[in-house]
């Protein structure tokens, strides 16, 4: 079951990306990506929880019975989320307010429980933490990409409100590539979130297809029927 560093990395960031491939954690993905700042905030929070929960779950994986496994995992995740929630409240209150209930809802981000069940409960601590980090990073990157696209297309800005995360000095990171008056509201509103996410997924499919055709032209064909077994056993 154990995978190498490279595999875990590419899985998390690309091949098995929670948002684009597994289609998990969609709620925050679509709900908080109207700006980069929001996306980054929630992405970081999720990343934190993922690494933490994966680590703990991997630590305790041999000590819980099947019947209570799930509730224990949920409890681990929930306590991490609650900690994060309290920290965010204490230090980035405004951002916390904008993200609204999506911070506590990290608990039900299916990707997290999915990783705990699917990976951390079967692997060593180091790998589990790495997997959590990579999955979280993959999720974060998609969140930020979506946020950037929507912000840019919708209100013609980039990096607005970054001061909520990085303090007042981030105020002047703001860029407005399309001038002052640009706005294309649909991308800020819910429909735009779906549309841009759909296009992102299609883009990934396209890249994958291109990579695949390129790889196929290099790869030799597998041996056909190599894995056959005899169903009728030994014949004497």
């Amino acid at each position: 079951m154990s995978q190498g560093f490279k595999e875990i990395t590419t899985n998390g960031l690309w091949h098995n990306n929670p948002a684009l491939v597994q289609l998990l954690g969609l709620c925050p993905l679509l709900a908080v990506t109207s700006t980069v700042a929001n996306a980054l905030g929630l992405g970081l929070a999720t990343l934190l929880v993922l690494v933490g929960s994966n680590t703990i779950v991997s630590l305790i994986r041999n000590h819980v019975s099947d019947a209570v496994r799930l509730p224990v995992f949920v409890m681990v995740i929930a306590s991490f989320v609650t900690c994060t929630e309290m920290l965010m409240k204490a230090y980035t209150y405004e951002l916390y307010q904008i993200l609204g209930i999506f911070v506590p809802l990290i608990v039900t981000n299916c990707a997290i429980l999915g990783r705990a069940e699917g990976f951390a409960s079967k692997n060593s601590v180091g790998l589990a933490a790495l997997d959590g980090f990579m999955m979280g990073l993959g999720f974060l990157l998609v969140l930020v990409a979506l946020g950037a696209l929507r912000e840019l297309l919708g209100q013609g800005t980039l990096l607005v409100d970054m001061h909520l995360l990085f303090g007042p000095s981030a105020m002047n990171w703001l860029v407005k590539p399309f001038g002052e008056n640009y706005s294309f509201l649909i991308f800020v509103l819910p429909p735009g979130a779906f549309l841009v996410a759909g296009v992102l997924i299609a883009l990934k499919n396209m890249l994958d297809n291109m990579a695949k055709t390129r790889a196929d032209s290099h790869k030799s064909k597998p041996v056909k029927g190599a894995k056959r077994v005899r169903t009728t056993g030994h014949i004497n």
Partner: protein
């Protein structure tokens, strides 16, 4: 068999619950002060926008008076509300009145209106509305500075017929393509100032509440 299963699982879960609870209460203990502070700050910031901190030295959050019931309908309040009073050196300097317009294009527009002692507008902020994005939402300061046009206006320095959009011969701009929202805001402002006229004696006569730590 079944009993032992129940017991074992209950114990396991309880153990985890114990650890979790400990951890969480620990973190809570560490952060609750900061959180309370942040919450207060957030609640204040709306008020502070209307009447900035250099103009007063009391805690406006705590220095409040309920709006008398007979004025509720004038202010558009259905469940009543509290007027916040700003004082400097214990002397009242202004009040902040909550008010709601029901004439918005797609629903209510809730505002906070700061009124100076002399009945002039100290500041207006829309705190909640459902106007059309891109059209009526220019009442937000984030989107447009229109709302600042009211500062300094009072019923005495602006005659009633001038409390209207320019299109209707008034003093205030309308938004391109939207006159309903500005009209609603203006009308409600007039109502609020009227209320202030009628109730200011009472408001300013009231004793101040004990001063607490306010600004940091």
């Amino acid at each position: 068999m079944i009993l032992s299963s129940i017991r074992d699982n209950a114990l396991a879960l309880a153990l985890f619950a114990l650890i979790t609870a400990l951890l969480l209460s620990l973190v809570n203990d560490l952060t609750d002060d900061r959180i309370a502070q942040a919450e207060r700050l957030a609640a204040q910031s709306a008020l502070l926008e209307v009447i900035p901190s250099e103009r007063h030295d009391n805690d406006m959050l705590l220095d409040t008076q309920p709006v008398p019931q007979q004025f509720w309908s004038l202010l558009g309040l259905e469940k009543g509300g509290n007027v916040h009073i700003a004082r400097y050196n214990n002397e009242p300097v202004a009040v902040i009145i909550p008010t709601i317009s029901h004439e918005g294009y797609s629903g209510d527009i809730a505002m906070l209106v700061g009124v100076n002692l002399d009945g002039s507008v100290a500041g207006v902020r829309v705190v909640k509305h459902r106007e059309t994005p891109g059209l009526g939402d220019k009442v937000e300061l984030r989107k447009n500075s229109w709302i600042l046009d009211f500062n300094g206006r009072s019923l005495s320095n602006t005659p009633p017929q001038k409390w209207a959009v320019k299109k209707a011969g008034g003093d205030f701009d309308q938004f391109t393509g939207a006159t309903i929202t500005p009209r609603a805001v203006i009308n409600q402002l007039v109502n609020t100032l009227t209320y202030f006229d009628q109730d200011n004696d009472r408001l300013f006569a009231l004793k101040q509440t004990p001063k607490t730590q306010d600004k940091q």
